[in-house]
Symmetry: C3
Subunit: 122 residues, 3 copies
Amino acid sequence: MKGNATTLQRIDAGACMSDAVIHHQTLYYTSVTADAALNEDITGQTRNALAAMDAMLARCNTDKRRLVDATIFLPDAADFAAMNEVWDNWVGAGSVPVRCTVQGGLMNPHYKIEIEIVAALS
Amino acid sequence: MKGNATTLQRIDAGACMSDAVIHHQTLYYTSVTADAALNEDITGQTRNALAAMDAMLARCNTDKRRLVDATIFLPDAADFAAMNEVWDNWVGAGSVPVRCTVQGGLMNPHYKIEIEIVAALS
Amino acid sequence: MKGNATTLQRIDAGACMSDAVIHHQTLYYTSVTADAALNEDITGQTRNALAAMDAMLARCNTDKRRLVDATIFLPDAADFAAMNEVWDNWVGAGSVPVRCTVQGGLMNPHYKIEIEIVAALS
């Protein structure tokens, strides 16, 4: 890496991906449900993925009120309404990100939702 | 929010999402067709979504020549050529963003296109 | 463009899209396989798309250790394991980006993979 490179902060960097990366006071993160909740329905998986997001945002000294952008992938478009109900109760009115929801398959066949976010650090 | 937080600018923040968010002189926005154009074909919906994008960029004091990145979701890949024809006539040659087009279902069954963008502010 | 606008750097800007755009020391880029490798399987196409990425990162004076975020689209979810094998051998352990893989169709029916990235410049 060049001597003048800004430092990227990687959170839980593994062999093939990091859980989150911070660049220029901007957090990139993708949330799925924890393995323990893989058998839950869309309501449970959305709650679980958003709880994991809250935990990651807190680790990075920010919170959901600093979300900038969210792209939500749902394998089953019929899950949209139930996902929205959990999302709406979770997100803070007035401090909400741009959001785009797309029907697309996920790589673990048990996953019912994956949420890519960009967030600002506090 | 911490006292030293940079200010996020949210445009038309609703209960569950914002139309656009500005962070670090970077605009995040997702464009779909207006409700009034939901019955239009891909040509009409693409024109409509790009007109909405022009309007949002103008509100944020920037324009399409400052687009950085666009991800286009089409439920029907057969709409690609007709979408491209509208896009090519709209976008300014030489000031064009990175672009990735993916076939994926959208949450309103009438939507034929959704465009996620990142743009630089002027 | 306004007089005080920061300069966007566009790499290989064409009539409808750029190969890559740099904004605020951040590179946006989408990689697919080269036309010459369109008939290759997922292993060959992933290698080819990652080689193209290496070349683009080098042109921008950065490298794969500065990847921030990657969104991988696969038309066929059954290609996930073979794609991962190539990815894991390519990516530098410890310097890995956030990654989200989604099953979604691509606009060239021969494409087996498309990779959207955000990278930090050195």
